[in-house]
Amino acid sequence: MASDGLFRTGPRAASGSHPVVALAGNPNTGKSTVFNALTGLAQHTGNWPGKTVRTAWGTARHRGRLYTLVDLPGTYSLLAGSAEEEVASDFLCHGRPDATVVVADATALERNLNLVLQVLEVTGKVVVLLNLIDEARRKGYDIDVGVLAEGLGVPVVPAVARDGRGLPELMDTVAALCDGSLVTHPRPVVYPPDVEESLRRLEARLAGRLPRGAPLRWLAVRALCGDARVLRLLAGPAPPPGSPAPAGPAPPPGSPLPSPGFSPVVRPRPAVSRTSPETKRSAGP
């Protein structure tokens, strides 16, 4: 779990073959504390391409295996459309992390669960790190972790990240998610019937426009919430009937993609590797 030394730098690590773990969470939940504790000195910061959103990634070692941790910007939601939220949502959608840790503040659990439920719409390979559990206890909250995990359908690990408590357990769970020995059964949120109906219709229309395995339901939710990029994708030309849904490698540049910012690439590692500290300056035009 400790740092892996200075020389396994971000771009190299990010382009390597070890699992990619995304770190999401509300602001002020101790997400950075978790990230710092897991990566030690083996971390790097940079801009997301074309955006003034700072991000960091680093390497964590746990039981002899290496993991690339991507610290997503802290957000209250994935839906409101700020630059931070687009970065976080895009990475979860198209970066296809092998596991996603959602750091939740146990003292403001309800608001944090709002984000957890949204992340679960994008990916099921989620573990919730219930941070600040000691502070919650002092505030008079007793949280039944088992009941919470049962209700969400994904593992929940209680933690006090400032003291490192709970982090080994977190990495055990992450390892199990990455190697497939732990399979989650997230329980989707049920929306009102007419919303569900709209979502089904949108999903069907999106299915023909996106590679297999894309989080269709989540993109449909975003379309219903007025996400301009998904709406542009829907407004674009549909593929000819009978043609197989595009899959596999990214379409060549110049293919009719809805917008440069929305490329349904399967594993856009460049989102990380392009932002090495050395090339940070080239983020500007």
Partner: protein, 81 residues
């Protein structure tokens, strides 16, 4: 949308608690306020005003969020908690 007996949040005095009944703000502001937990049925408490009287800190869903007067005015509340 304004239901009978509802008032804009910024009119509540410090110490008062109320239930969110509606939202008049639009666009990204509306989405952001909803994400922070100002959803219908949520209990909001006026914690304190800043030394200059604005913004005001509100306790909502376990955290304390400061809003300016004109932003809080977009949230409709009713006093019966």
């Amino acid at each position: 949308m304004p239901s009978p007996g509802s008032v804009p949040l910024h009119l509540l005095p410090p110490g008062a608690a109320a239930k969110v009944v509606g939202m008049e703000a639009g666009g990204p502001k509306r989405r952001r306020l909803l994400d922070l937990g100002f959803v219908p049925g949520a209990v909001v408490e006026v914690v304190r005003r800043s030394p200059f009287g604005d913004p005001t800190a509100y306790a909502i869903k376990g955290s304390v969020i400061a809003l300016r007067r004109e932003d809080a005015a977009g949230i409709l509340v009713r006093g019966d908690v």
